[in-house]
Amino acid sequence: MVPNPDDEVQRLLRLLAVKRHETPPPGFFDSLPNRILVSIRAGTEMSDRGFWERLWIRILREPMVAGSYAALGLGAMVFGVSVFQMAIEHESHTGIGMEELATTTPGMLLAPPNHLPGGIIYRVSPADYARSDDSYSAPSPSAYRVVDPFRTSVNGVEVQPVSLDR
């Protein structure tokens, strides 16, 4: 006998009636409005305060936020000190000042092939490097620039530090 679809729907609806009897823990609906009002009051109080006051309250209330801000500040300080120290050391070895260092853009490090004089680490502009294809052709001298005067070898090739732009 083919089941009547309407009967099946009725049975399904009776089955779903079970879900109407699922109830939260006792007292839940007594406490929920209070929790909502406390949150609303806290939010209203916060919005009446200034930015720095809100930030301070948030830091006090949420240790994770405080930790994040502290880590961020510490990281920024360490980075600043290390950059400053590197710049000073660089200047003392090369004569290239902090201002010049700051304007130096990252480029390509090349261990120069034998036909480049002195085994010096040069930085070559990307355009020059692109033109070189498979076989390295020396870029124009104006593209040479000392990159890392402290390194003594690159890819196993000995290099000499120099302190002059080429």
Binding site: P5, R14, A17, R20, H21, I36
Partner: protein, 211 residues
């Protein structure tokens, strides 16, 4: 006349549907808009059970439902100045809760749903509809009511969010198609077609209990 596709009509079973006029709600809303938190407290107490139940049946998780219900009422309070009264407050708060729940479920989609089911109340054992089902399956009612509850929630979680939502709002909460359409921002025809498809899916998932 009630058709076969409508939920059981015993008014004690379905949650009460709000009167669309709702004069008292409007008065409370106006007072809350003026900053009266006591008025908003009354609105929360009036609607919290229906909002919570909807969210709970969507998530099958009490903790998530409690958080989402709280968020929905807080968000509604913050947006209360924008409530013009062109629909019932009940519809408006439902819409906020439904949207928050759907967003939450989208984020949860890639995770296995963690069911945290509420206990069945005392009346479940005496509900004739439930009794008829369980007694047909087995005489061990209490044990199998719990099993039935788990299967039912598992089947509900297999439905897509929008299909689950129409089942919850229509077949469990007892809302009419038009009200659901207003809440879900679609037309009543879409609600009907989603309901038809969702029931077919549920029938397939729960076939052992529907023989």
């Amino acid at each position: 006349m009630r058709t076969a596709t409508e939920p059981p009509t015993d008014p004690s079973k379905a949650l009460p549907v709000a009167d669309p006029v709702e004069p008292e709600d409007l008065v409370l809303v106006r007072r809350a808009q003026a900053g009266d938190l006591e008025a908003y407290d009354q609105l929360v107490r009036r609607h919290q059970e229906r909002v919570y139940s909807t969210v709970y049946h969507m998530t099958s998780n009490h903790e998530d439902a409690a958080d989402l219900t709280q968020d929905a009422f807080i968000k509604a309070y913050n947006a209360l100045r924008g409530f013009k009264g062109d629909c019932a407050f009940f519809t408006w708060i439902y819409r906020i809760a439904v949207n928050r729940t759907l967003n939450f479920l989208k984020q949860r989609r890639n995770r296995t749903p963690n069911l945290s089911l509420n206990d069945l109340d005392f009346n479940a054992e005496h509900d004739p509809d439930v009794l008829a089902l369980v007694s047909e399956q087995t005489p061990r009612r209490q044990v199998d009511l719990g099993e039935l509850q788990e299967k039912l929630n598992g089947a509900m979680q297999k439905l897509s969010e929008v299909h689950r939502m129409v089942v919850v709002l229509h077949d469990i909460q007892g809302l009419p198609h038009e009200e659901i359409a207003a809440i879900m921002d679609c037309n009543p025809g879409t609600v009907r077609s989603r309901l038809f498809y969702a029931r077919q899916q549920l029938q397939a998932y729960l076939s052992d209990y529907l023989k």
